[in-house]
Amino acid sequence: MKSLALLATLVTGALLLYGTKDFPAWGDPQAPASTYLSPVYIEKAVEQTHVPNIVTAVLGDYRGYDTMFETVVIYCAGMAVVSVLWRRKEE
């Protein structure tokens, strides 16, 4: 059982290591992830929201839906823990 788990892990790891062949170099400013949307955020966020911390501006304004449902997820986690562990006090 343990050797099977080790085999599965090694196969997955080898596949992922093979996949890193196509990645851009680490810290490359011209990587595809850094050229599409984020320059707009960096250059326009302060002008449009007056918030110097760009992460807060994107979190609260541009991606407000994301944060809202994330708050709902935390709320659901609290309710789930209460309903799983709830027990009445013995009189």
Binding site: N53, V55, T56
Partner: protein, 81 residues
């Protein structure tokens, strides 16, 4: 970005992960997992992701470790592997 510091922290992170899953005592495992979270926070602060590092320092290393310890004290501390 200083690659010596980067490599050192990455090595320590891998060592902490290996210790956390191989130690027999579950309380020790959760404490080592807290150390792992702090090293990860250091790594993110070094990458320039200050908000993520702050969140990991409060959430991952602080509250998550306390949750693990609380649950272990309600259940059992021993583990077979």
């Amino acid at each position: 970005m200083i690659w010596q510091i980067d490599l050192m922290i990455l090595t320590l992170v891998v060592v902490c992960a290996l210790v956390a899953i191989n130690i027999k005592d579950l309380l020790g495992a959760s404490v080592v997992f807290g150390i792992y979270s702090f090293l990860m926070c250091l790594l993110w602060a070094e990458m320039g992701a200050v908000d993520v590092a702050f969140t990991e320092a409060t959430v991952g290393a602080g509250v998550s470790t306390i949750f693990f310890i609380a649950a272990i004290l309600r259940t059992t501390r021993r583990s077979k592997d």
